[in-house]
């Protein structure tokens, strides 16, 4: 009994019921999202870098070319690199699926459960729409001009490039695939 009284949760219960309920709720959601392998901020499943990695025959890389010169992503801050790469990946995914979000079905299922809000409202608010995706090219061009190279850009190209490791050197394997070209309007 003395051991139990000394536990953190017991002390929290004795000290402040509100904080105790808050902690229990937090633990409940943490466990719920963990069991669902779902990451809903601020609850996360900490499983990064836990799966086996095998020595690959080829490695694929996304490369960004600004006016035909490859952008050195290692020389820009990691968050800026994440913005350039991740927003593009989202845009490309939408473009390839004809602007159909991969989780749209889940949104539909969940919105059916919520009768109080209209299904269209939920879908339009959570999922990207074609009109929003169409603004992306101009936005990323302006972003790169302002915050990445600080000069006018005529053309941006996103390419998928395959590399092969031979004798501890990486060499391009096959042709690179051009995924997106953005040209300045003027």
């Amino acid at each position: 009994m003395k051991y139990l009284q000394n536990t953190f949760l017991f002390r929290a219960f004795k000290q402040n019921k509100f904080i105790f309920c808050f902690i229990l709720t937090f633990i409940f959601f943490q466990q719920y999202f963990y069991s669902k392998k779902n990451s809903s901020f601020p609850w996360y499943v900490w499983i990064m870098y836990s799966y086996p990695n095998y020595e690959p025959d080829t490695l694929t890389q996304l490369e960004i070319y600004i006016d035909n010169k490859r952008l050195n992503l290692a020389k820009i801050p990691i968050w800026q690199e994440a913005v350039l790469v991740n927003t593009f990946k989202k845009y490309y995914e939408l473009q390839q699926t004809n602007y159909h979000e991969s989780f749209k079905q889940l949104v539909d299922e969940r919105s059916n459960e919520l009768k109080i809000v209209s299904k269209n409202y939920i879908e339009n608010t959570i999922c990207n729409q074609k009109e929003e995706a169409e603004k992306y090219k101009n936005w990323i061009l302006a972003y790169m001009e302002k915050y990445v190279v600080q000069k006018k850009i005529h053309q941006i190209e996103y390419k998928e490039v395959h590399y092969k490791q031979t004798q501890k050197q990486f060499t391009k394997a096959g042709n690179s695939k051009l995924l997106l070209t953005i040209k300045h309007a003027n």
């Binding site: 929290a12 490695l59 800026q80 927003t87």
Partner: protein
């Protein structure tokens, strides 16, 4: 007359908010604030239900379209954090404002930069104790934050075992190959690649380092039973954050902020468990 607890909090709070401010300045320098992401047209929420709810309330979509509001929130976080460092009596009020502003800022940023950083949760939990007016409640939440840190580290170690990453031969050298392809092809003189390249060539040492990384995380399990070794755990945590930054180019300093909870409690022989 100030109590022993209040003195501890008065010393601890400026450390937490000071480090938060340093990390925030680094974020500004790294373009990770709303100002730079303003007007971003694409959102990415995947199956993050918190972000679903926020989008349904419309305010992240509104904020991102208003550059002045983005600037106001970004500067608000900075200014309120400075107040949190220096204000002793009203700190709990500023901490509440800071937590609210930071939550709005980071949620909007993560949704519209299509980038979800897990360690942000650590910043939220590290700031949480200071929203309490009463000191004993602050201490209780600092202890909760400490247990949350232990959970993160232990669960991460646990998954390295159950998902097979730990048992896989040459897992770490292969991981480094994937992680640093851009450096290998474009910027091989980068310090991260120089270290990684050496490790890829010396696979035994790399494998040993991965086991060491696992042990560093797993050893946090001690923290569930005792606070005696908290300072050692803090040193390990700091080493973990620095080494992952230089070797893997992974930013883990948000966890260090949560790690400050390890130096709040003085060593005790008392057996305490969750």
């Amino acid at each position: 007359m100030p109590t022993k607890t209040s003195l501890s909090i008065q010393r601890y709070a400026p450390m937490v908010f000071g480090l938060f401010l340093i990390l925030y300045v680094y974020r500004i320098h790294s373009f990770s604030i709303l100002y730079y992401t303003a007007n971003s047209p694409l959102k990415n929420v995947d199956t993050n239900y918190t972000y679903w709810l926020l989008l349904l309330l419309q305010f992240p979509s509104y904020i991102i379209q208003q550059k002045w509001l983005c600037t106001l929130i970004d500067s608000g976080v900075f200014v309120v954090c400075v107040f949190c460092i220096f204000s002793k009596k009203k700190r709990y009020i500023f901490a509440r404002i800071l937590l609210f502003l930071f939550f709005i800022q980071i949620s909007t940023l993560q949704i519209f930069s299509c980038t979800h950083t897990k360690s942000i949760a650590c910043l939220m939990i590290a700031l949480l104790p200071f929203v309490c007016k009463e000191e004993k409640n602050t201490v209780l939440l600092i202890e909760f934050a400490r247990y949350f840190l232990i959970y993160i580290m232990v669960i991460s170690a646990y998954h390295k075992v159950v998902n097979g990453g730990l048992m896989q031969t040459d897992n770490f050298p292969n991981m480094l190959l994937h992680q640093h392809l851009d450096l290998a092809t474009l910027y091989p003189q980068h310090i991260s690649y120089c270290i990684s390249h050496w490790l890829i060539e010396h696979k035994t040492i790399a494998n040993g380092l991965f086991v060491l990384l696992f042990c560093t995380q797993a050893i946090f399990v001690i923290g569930i039973f005792t606070k005696r070794y908290d300072r050692i755990l803090f040193v390990l945590l700091f080493g973990f954050a620095v080494s992952t930054y230089f070797i893997m180019r992974i930013y883990n300093f948000d966890i260090v902020l949560l790690g400050l909870t390890l130096i709040f409690f003085k060593g005790t022989r008392k057996r305490q468990s969750i």
